[in-house]
């Protein structure tokens, strides 16, 4: 049952992948028609075939796997010959893309995929005159189309309009929220199934212990003169124990199967609902041409609006934000960027200007690019006008673009200085920020302006880095995470009293995340070695100190009811695997909020021997020993970092300088001897003294330790702090 459901799910995923890649393939082929030797497009086609081959294998559709394999071979041949692709070959490949769509349709309909849906790949090479292989025309299946009105399918199969159903978007939101709740329950059930399995183990073990002790118990009962009734009770006990263990096992099996099934169904429902909320960008083309016409008419310009890639689908909320962002961009372009028809003629440009909006889907990001062929932005004119009004504008165009987008100057200032110029561009940035997107403004004088909007197609699912502060888990959207770093306090600098992380692009402020998010979170002082997440946006970067970086996950975002005003920095909540809830931090707001909190400062330097604090790496798989040694060493004035085994220790060594290593011998993964050998084998770490602390008292163990290159070998049985400290003092010297 389990595998059957997995199989079903893989088939659905395969169908989606086929549609997506057929679309990508069509785009590549269109581009190749214009430029038949474009190597990047050929590589992209090859990759498509390769990826689909793997996907078909994973889903166990062997006909498709072998068809993709021949497609791959065919493309590899063209790629390796590095020759322009013939138009007849492009024709064949278009039919192969159609074949992929047809295969997708067949899979969704629950039918097998027959090899005949793919064209004979050799036909293209025989020249244009070769007879076209018969491609079975896909017959529209209303039930399938209704369920998944996806764009690529629509391009080949017209959607029967009359069969669609109108639903208020709010109802879908409610439905998604309920589905998310169900998903949470399902994940909790899955977590509980592990507890049940532990119980089953326990019952099973207890049962076998009982059975093993029976042979000893019975003679004891004889000697003790147990009555018949007592014997009866004891034997009933054993019997019941056995049946308890058995029943528990059978229950656990059923519970496991149900929990898995539930988790899968809940995931499918959530995905399906999310897909229902998706709308094609095409919907914008209903209203925008009219807006452009009206704006152009009132400005006395002649403008032609072109769309491309409007089949890309995005979440309904994202589409709204996109619409909101596009209007100021179009308005600016028509009012300021595009010249009057007369001026254009003088410049040798066509009277009619072109305003082009293209949408593209790149993995998990949508790229919408708006270009005009107007005059671009006259940066010098702009700077002159600003400086006349007493404002300095950034000297380089990159920073100027940032300023125009609202990063540097308030819109009122701007509006009062230069009427109209740039007004509304901050609206673009705000609209994009709402959907976790970014804006980029570029221009080429006299050639045109390009505004690039980049955002995720859907808000409901979100990639986030999970970090912990104490026992609380927070989700930081990956789109704003620049990198994760290990900080050691002695490597930090101070700028204007603020702790900063030195960086090639200028110092990055270091702030404990707990300080920005505020109470009830408890902030730890900056000390020792720390983990920090560098987040960035709008030209600023901040390193937020967290306790731990746990994982990166695809999360389902749920809105937090409005009214929780205290949660300004939280964009929503996400349900985690074990059923817990992680607040999702609004990266944009978080970065802004840093300005409002007291700066983090470095700990006061030790008065004696300032800057000479030695750092010691304590390696032990026992938390108790680790903590004990850590407190002893810290009390003696050393900076201490810890690792839980040899492998972990090597990682710490890579990440930060350490003056001495104190290590246990018996540890999982990499023991103390081997850790020591690794340190001695490394040019970089060889000089670091290593002290092995162990329970192994045999002389050969001591010998082995010395052979491994340890500088000292202390016995746990005779362990006292004085001895450890004295040894360290001796090894570090002064």
């Amino acid at each position: 049952v389990e595998d059957a459901s997995l199989h079903e799910r893989l088939l659905q995923l395969l169908a989606e992948e086929l549609e997506e890649h057929a679309q990508a393939m069509n785009a590549d082929l269109l581009a190749l028609e214009a430029e038949p030797a474009d190597p990047e497009r050929l590589r992209s086609l090859f990759r498509t075939a390769h990826t689909l081959k793997g996907a078909a294998r994973a889903a166990g559709v062997s006909t498709l796997e072998s068809a993709c394999h021949s497609l791959e071979d065919h493309l590899a041949e063209i790629r390796d010959q590095a020759r322009p692709i013939a138009s007849a070959e492009i024709e064949t490949l278009y039919r192969a893309a159609d074949g992929l769509l047809e295969a997708s349709r067949l899979i969704r309909a629950g039918d097998g995929v027959d090899e005949s849906v793919f064209p004979d790949l050799n036909s293209g090479r025989r020249g244009a005159g070769a007879p076209e292989p018969a491609i079975p025309q896909p017959t529209p299946s209303p039930s399938v189309e209704e369920r998944t009105p996806s764009a690529p399918a629509q391009s080949t199969i017209p959607v029967p309009e009359t069969r669609t159903l109108r639903v208020a978007p709010e109802r879908l939101d409610d439905l998604l929220a309920s589905a998310a709740e169900m998903l949470r329950l399902a994940r909790r059930a899955d977590a509980q199934r592990q507890e049940i399995e532990a119980l089953v183990d326990f019952a099973g073990r207890w049962n076998s212990v009982w059975r093993r002790s029976l042979p000893r118990l019975n003679p004891a009962l004889d000697r003790g003169g147990a009555s018949e009734a007592e014997r009866e009770a004891i034997s009933t006990f054993g019997e019941n124990l056995r049946s308890l263990a058995e029943q528990a096992r059978s229950l656990a099996q059923r519970a496991t199967a149900d929990a898995l099934q539930l988790a899968r169904t809940a995931e499918e429902i959530t995905t399906d609902i999310r897909l229902l909320r998706m709308r094609p960008v095409r919907e914008l083309t209903d209203t925008l041409p009219r807006t452009v016409r009206d704006l152009a008419a009132s400005a006395g310009k002649e403008v032609r609006l072109e769309f491309e890639g409007t089949e890309v689908e995005v979440d309904r909320m994202v589409l709204d934000a996109l619409r909101e962002a596009l209007i100021p961009i179009i308005r600016n372009s028509i009012d300021h960027g595009i010249e009057s028809p007369e001026e254009r003629q003088r410049l040798g440009k066509p009277r009619e200007a072109e305003l082009r909006i293209t949408a593209e889907l790149h993995a998990d990001r949508v790229l919408v690019v708006v270009t005009d062929d107007g005059r671009g932005i006259d940066a010098n004119l702009l700077r002159r006008k600003y400086s006349a009004a007493g404002y300095a504008l950034p000297p380089d165009d990159r920073s100027l673009a940032e300023a125009l987008l609202g990063g540097g100057i308030s819109s009122r200032t701007r509006a009062s200085v230069i009427s109209g110029r740039g007004v509304g561009l901050d609206i673009v940035r705000a609209a994009m920020a709402r959907v976790r997107g970014t804006v980029q403004l570029d221009w080429e004088p006299n050639t045109g302006t390009t505004v690039t909007l980049e955002f995720p197609p859907s808000l409901a699912n979100l990639r986030a880095l999970l970090v912990s502060l104490g026992s609380q888990v927070f989700a930081l959207p990956t789109s704003s995470v620049r990198r994760v770093v290990r900080l050691s306090v002695e490597k930090l600098g101070t700028v204007e009293g603020r702790a900063v992380l030195p960086d090639a692009d200028g110092p990055i402020p270091v702030v404990p995340l707990a300080r920005v998010l505020g109470p009830p979170l408890v902030e730890r002082p900056l000390a020792g070695s720390m983990r920090a997440v560098v987040m960035g946006g709008n030209g600023t970067q901040v390193a937020f100190v967290v306790d731990e970086v746990l994982a990166e996950e695809e999360l389902i975002l749920r809105p937090i009811p409005i009214g929780s005003r205290s949660l300004q920095l939280i964009a929503g909540a996400a349900i985690l695997g074990h059923g817990g809830v992680a607040p999702v931090v609004d990266a944009h707001a978080l970065l802004k909020a840093v300005a409002g909190v007291a700066p983090a400062t470095l700990p006061k330097q030790q008065p004696a021997g300032a800057g000479k604090e030695r750092s010691i790496l304590v390696v032990d798989d026992s938390l108790t020993t680790r903590t004990l040694e850590q407190s002893v060493l810290e009390a003696a004035g050393f900076a201490v970092v810890t690792a839980s085994d040899g492998l972990d220790a090597l990682r710490v060594l890579q990440a930060q300088p350490v003056d001495l290593v104190v290590s246990d011998v018996e540890m999982p993964r990499l023991d103390g001897f081997r850790l020591c050998e690794s340190i001695r084998a490394s040019d970089r770490f060889r000089p670091i003294p290593v002290i092995l602390v162990t329970a192994r008292e045999r002389p050969e163990d001591r010998k082995r330790g010395m052979e491994a290159g340890a500088d000292a070998y202390l016995l746990k049985s005779s362990f006292d702090q004085e001895q450890l400290l004295a040894t360290i003092e001796q090894l570090l010297g002064e």
Binding site: L10, L14, A55, A58, P668, R674
Partner: protein, 350 residues
């Protein structure tokens, strides 16, 4: 016991879902992240420090080979290449082992496949085995230090060798390639190789080893006579051996210590065919396959070389051979080919 923290890099949602399902079905494993391209795989490895990365070869943007290379520089982590075994793909995957990946396993087929269970088991077994391998940074210069076990070169082989036999496992393809490429043209002996590799990959291995310079490499065929300077690779699911008439023997006998082909089978069979007139070479690899056979081969008088620890990805089989006291010489990988050339020229024997 901590769970193994795994990062999965695979761009196809279908293939990724299958992998995740298999990995998550193992309670000792925790998937800490999934990447859909090479750049993300590198970034996430640095951030999350997983115990192992499963890596697809073809991905948009940065591919799996480049990602492997960068991970081995930025945050050395055991990498398992999960790839199709089709020839071009297999060769490409093995290139990833040169970049630092530990092992190549075939992409599992879906649950509709008849041997899905075995494929699942194999993948999990490899994940657990490879996650335990400790790694060093690729760019770190190899420390110039005395071998911990000092070489004990004898005067040389006691018999004039007629054949070279090689055993390799984890990290073996890249090591083998180095040895073969450095072998002098016109090397006069045939070379028999047992390399532990996932089912289906042996033909790809042959193709990959044959790329570029070096001797002719063949997938061993039953009954074919050994030719001087040729390299014979054991095929899938068959023991490679040598008959007394100096022809290839392929055997379907039971696996030895789970391995078929097994290095112990090869060494034993060669002992039977030519006695001590052979050189045994133990390259990088996990476990102890080959050690028992090597004891017999050495007993008969053969000369035995083991790859040293610093240049081995896993100093396992070679370490066991050293412990068993059957190794004449421990050499870094780049000195093995020149030494082989010397050995076949050394005189007098006996």
């Amino acid at each position: 016991m901590n769970k193994l923290r795994i990062l999965v890099a695979e761009d196809s949602p279908t293939a990724r879902t299958l992998l995740l399902e298999i990995l998550r079905g193992d309670p000792r494993i925790e998937v800490v992240g999934t990447a859909t391209n090479g750049a993300d795989a590198v970034r996430m490895t640095v951030e999350l420090r997983p115990d192992l990365v499963t890596m697809d070869v073809h991905m948009p943007g940065m591919d799996g080979i480049q990602a492997t290379r960068e991970i081995m520089i930025a945050a050395p982590t055991p990498i398992l290449i999960v790839s199709s075994a089709a020839r071009e793909d297999a060769a490409l995957s093995l290139t990833a082992t040169e970049a630092g990946a530990l092992m190549v396993v075939p992409k599992p087929e879906g649950p509709s496949a008849a041997d899905f269970e075995q494929q699942r088991e194999y993948l999990l077994q490899m994940v657990h085995a490879m996650a335990s391998v400790r790694l060093v940074r690729r760019w770190a210069p190899r420390p110039q230090r005395a071998h911990r076990l000092p070489p004990r070169p004898r005067a040389g082989p006691t018999h004039k060798p007629r054949v070279v036999t090689v055993a390799a496992s984890t990290g073996g393809p890249a090591a083998l390639k180095r040895v073969l490429q450095m072998l002098q043209p016109g090397f006069p002996l045939p070379i028999l190789v047992v390399q532990h590799i996932a089912k289906g990959f042996a033909p790809g291995l042959v193709e990959w080893l044959a790329l570029g310079s070096g001797p002719a490499v063949r997938l061993a065929q039953p009954g074919e006579p050994l030719l001087p300077g040729y390299v014979y690779i054991a095929p899938d699911e068959r023991h490679l051996g040598l008959r007394a008439d100096f022809t290839i023997e392929l055997s379907g006998a039971a696996p030895i210590g789970q391995f078929r082909p097994s290095a112990t089978y090869l060494f034993r069979s060669v002992t039977g065919a030519v006695g001590g007139a052979a050189v045994g070479v133990m390259l990088t690899g996990m476990g102890d396959d080959g050690v028992a056979g090597l004891c017999e081969l050495r007993q008969a008088g053969a000369y035995v070389i083991a790859q040293d620890e610093p240049t081995s990805v896993v100093f396992g089989m070679a370490r066991e051979a050293v412990r068993a006291g059957v190794v004449d010489e421990i050499l870094p990988i780049e000195e093995i080919a020149p030494r082989l050339t010397e050995l076949v020229q050394e005189r007098p024997y006996g």
